[in-house]
């Protein structure tokens, strides 16, 4: 039995110190993903809190033979999506023949011009653009680009078809590429 499964087993039995140790082992990973998704500390902290509360609620459901990281990633991804939904209602998800594709494509609010004024460096511009991506594209991009998860793993965790995830990634990359072109034009080819 690995250290993680031992901790989960003990935490599921009510051992508070085991749950705390579990959080301490994984909070950095969770916070990193949450920040990459949210782009700010306030939301990242809320998401990370939600993740560990969900972990606590789901301790009984963790299968000892399952991969803890996959299980944790699944909770993190869903928490990211749920967080946006809870705190920024009013998206325009539409049903249709490709509902699976569209459901994660609800556009976010566009940031004000003051946000853009501060985005002078390419990295910053791209980071801002990631923050503007629809949440489905954003979580797929974050998990693929930063976390190195395979598209099939992301698809399994989100309960989507792999083709849908590929389209999400392509759409995200396309938008980042456009943002890169914009900043290169603005900077006169400096980048």
């Amino acid at each position: 039995m690995s250290a993680d499964t031992d901790l989960i087993s003990r935490a599921a039995g009510g051992d508070a110190s085991a749950f705390q140790a579990l959080v301490e082992r994984h909070r950095t990973m969770v916070y990193r993903v949450a920040y990459q998704f949210a782009g700010n500390h306030h939301d990242a902290e809320d998401i990370a809190q939600e993740v560990f509360i969900k972990v606590y609620r789901s301790l009984d459901q963790f299968r000892q033979d399952a991969q803890l990281t996959s299980w944790m990633y699944r909770i993190v991804m869903n928490a990211c999506i749920d967080h946006r939904r809870r705190y920024r209602p009013g998206t325009n998800a539409a049903a249709g023949d490709e509902a699976e594709y569209r459901m994660l494509n609800a556009p976010e609010e566009t940031p004000g011009p003051e946000d853009q004024a501060y985005a002078t460096e390419i990295g910053e511009v791209l980071q801002l653009e990631i923050g503007r991506l629809p949440k489905g594209q954003r979580i797929v991009f974050v998990m693929r680009h930063y976390q190195g998860m395979k598209l099939c793993e992301i698809a399994a965790a989100l309960g989507l078809a792999e083709g849908t995830v590929k389209r999400q990634l392509h759409a995200a990359v396309h938008r980042l590429r456009e943002a890169l072109s914009q900043v290169r034009v603005t900077a006169g080819g400096r980048a």
């Binding site: 508070a16 009013g90 998800a93 459901m103 390419i122 309960g159």
Partner: protein
């Protein structure tokens, strides 16, 4: 003109090493002769380099986890008070309704298991696929009975959403009229995913399929903007297109 290998998304998959080896080699050869794709690949490298230059943020702003941990501890304490995990050495006073609910759940489970056992004896087996084990009994029969009972309960709760949405008059409903369904859909979504995954693990493909459809409808419901006048009709079409009510009825009336 933009090369279609670039617009199809193949280049992204190449960049992220997600192409099968044959296609990867093929695209590699294509890149040597396609300036458009090479430029696009350069952009991807530029994006990677630019994002890599961003600070790696993996802790709260202060760098101190103590506030985070104490906030989490409070939240977990609230969770614990709702459903204690520990059987304390000192007996906790229990509320009577909890006992009643537990007894009712146990009775429902026993009744359902007996019903399933009765059906297993008296209902002809469904046709099996050629080559399947004709006489083998799944090792998880007992687990599946309990799982079936839980799934049925879950379907009953979910029906409140699905039937609620399907029977509304889309032309005259206001957003507030289906706020209840939206909230309930949100609260049921995580459990639905867990049930689907559990059904997949148990090889209960038909049940997993219905759970997947249900999950899609719940997700769509919880994400949809209720103020959008086209939202309710779209959800109703989705429920109809997936035959969700009929499928849920079949599962709950015939069991697994």
């Amino acid at each position: 003109m933009t090369c279609e290998r670039h617009t199809s998304g193949d280049l992204d998959l190449y960049f992220y090493d997600e192409l099968p080896s044959g296609e990867r080699e093929d695209l590699g050869r294509h890149l040597s002769g396609c300036e458009d794709c090479r430029a696009a690949l350069d952009e991807l490298h530029a994006i990677r380099a630019a994002l890599a230059s961003r600070p790696d943020v993996a802790a709260p702003a202060s760098g101190d986890w103590s506030q985070f941990m104490s906030r989490l501890e409070s939240a977990v304490a609230r969770e614990r008070s709702k459903s204690p995990r520990v059987l304390s050495l000192v007996a906790q006073p229990r509320r009577r309704y909890v006992e009643y609910v537990a007894i009712a759940a146990l009775l429902a489970l026993v009744t359902f298991s007996v019903t399933l056992a009765f059906r297993a004896r008296h209902v002809p087996s469904p046709p099996r696929a050629a080559g399947s084990a004709q006489h083998s009994v799944p090792a998880t029969t007992k687990d599946n009975s309990a799982f079936a009972a839980m799934s049925e309960e879950h379907f009953e709760r979910s029906k409140l959403v699905v039937l609620g949405l399907a029977t509304k008059d889309a032309a005259h409903e206001t957003p507030a009229d289906w706020e209840y369904e939206r909230e309930l859909a949100t609260s049921l979504l995580d459990d639905t995913r867990l049930y689907r995954l559990a059904a997949e693990d148990r090889g209960l493909d038909a049940l997993a399929g219905v759970m997947k459809d249900l999950e899609l409808v719940l997700l769509q419901t919880s994400l949809t903007d209720a103020k959008d006048p086209s939202a309710l009709p779209q959800l109703q079409r989705l429920i109809k297109r997936r035959d969700l009510i009929e499928k849920m009825d079949v599962v709950t009336t015939t069991g697994l």
